[in-house]
Point group: C2
Chain length 181, copies 2
């Protein structure tokens, strides 16, 4: 009956709160397609460990099914899981987002290299942003205005705004670099 799980556990538990039962493998896929935009996408082995822990805590129920020659383990959220999750979403104190922004760190240390190098880091970042933005846009489109995914859609919109901001900030930083010459 351990409480106060790490946030990643709640994140995975949360993926099971949308109604479907999922295998650890599928959980990882959903994490890559959704959590990744505002949270860390946990490694496969991490997902297996977390799923096992949630099952131990009784927050999810595991069902083994035989699919031909192999056994597939599927997880479903339990009543207790649902209420534990709700309590966390409702009552946890807000904690401030943590950013691990390597590009910003390298910009911060720009004085140790020539500006053209920093400039090219920003260009690479802008290219990477383009890809992420396309991925997220696809996710957002798939959510549509289905009321079941309204909360997810809100976060997707937030993410789209964030990426757009990152683009403009990177472009702005690049232009101040160009001005400096």
């Amino acid at each position: 009956m351990g409480q106060q799980l790490p946030a990643t556990s709640y994140a995975l538990l949360g993926l099971l709160s949308f109604g479907q039962s999922l295998t650890a493998y599928q959980l990882k896929q959903w994490a890559d397609a959704s959590l990744r935009f505002f949270w860390v996408a946990p490694a496969m082995s991490h997902v297996y460990r977390e799923a096992a822990r949630l099952a131990e805590e009784g927050l999810v129920a595991a069902t083994d099914a035989r699919d031909g020659g192999r056994v597939v383990r599927t997880y479903a959220i339990t009543e207790r899981g649902r209420s534990t999750l709700a309590a966390w979403v409702r009552d946890a104190p807000v904690d401030f987002p943590v950013l691990k922004h390597t590009v910003a760190l390298r910009l911060f240390l720009g004085h140790v290299v020539d500006d053209e190098h920093t400039r090219s880091v920003l260009d690479d970042y802008l290219a990477a942003l383009e890809h992420r933005l396309a991925d997220l846009r696809a996710v957002r489109d798939s959510l549509g205005d289905d009321p079941a995914f309204r909360s997810a859609a809100r976060v997707a919109d937030w993410g789209l705004g964030y990426y757009a901001f990152e683009q403009s900030a990177a472009r702005e930083a690049a232009s101040t670099l160009d001005d400096a010459r």
Copy 2:
């Protein structure tokens, strides 16, 4: 001659690249005042460990001075440290920022609670943002337009823009919650 250090090591090494020698304690203070806005602020004990490692690698040089009855260990970046840092800033592949955004996660899971609870999470977040923004604004002001801190100032501006974006995104999310009623 270990290479490819974790980014946090480069971050701390980078704090020593601004010209001053610092104790581990001061390193922690500088990290809290600067890195914190776009990177994790490492725990005190973490800083001590990293400082020791950097010294072992020859990237920083430690000097012990006697200050009355106690010994104070001060770190300065070495030539090798400076070139290692520059090589990382210049040549490391861009890696995409990772966000650990608990508020977004809770918004994502909004369907498990009543909207008013999600709404209050957003309000708490807006209040926290206000504080952060004030802190960062003070940092930004202290940098002025001193050319020695031009790169740092660019990142501070980026951060200010980010917090402003977060405010507008949180307000927007809050207003779609209100509309839903």
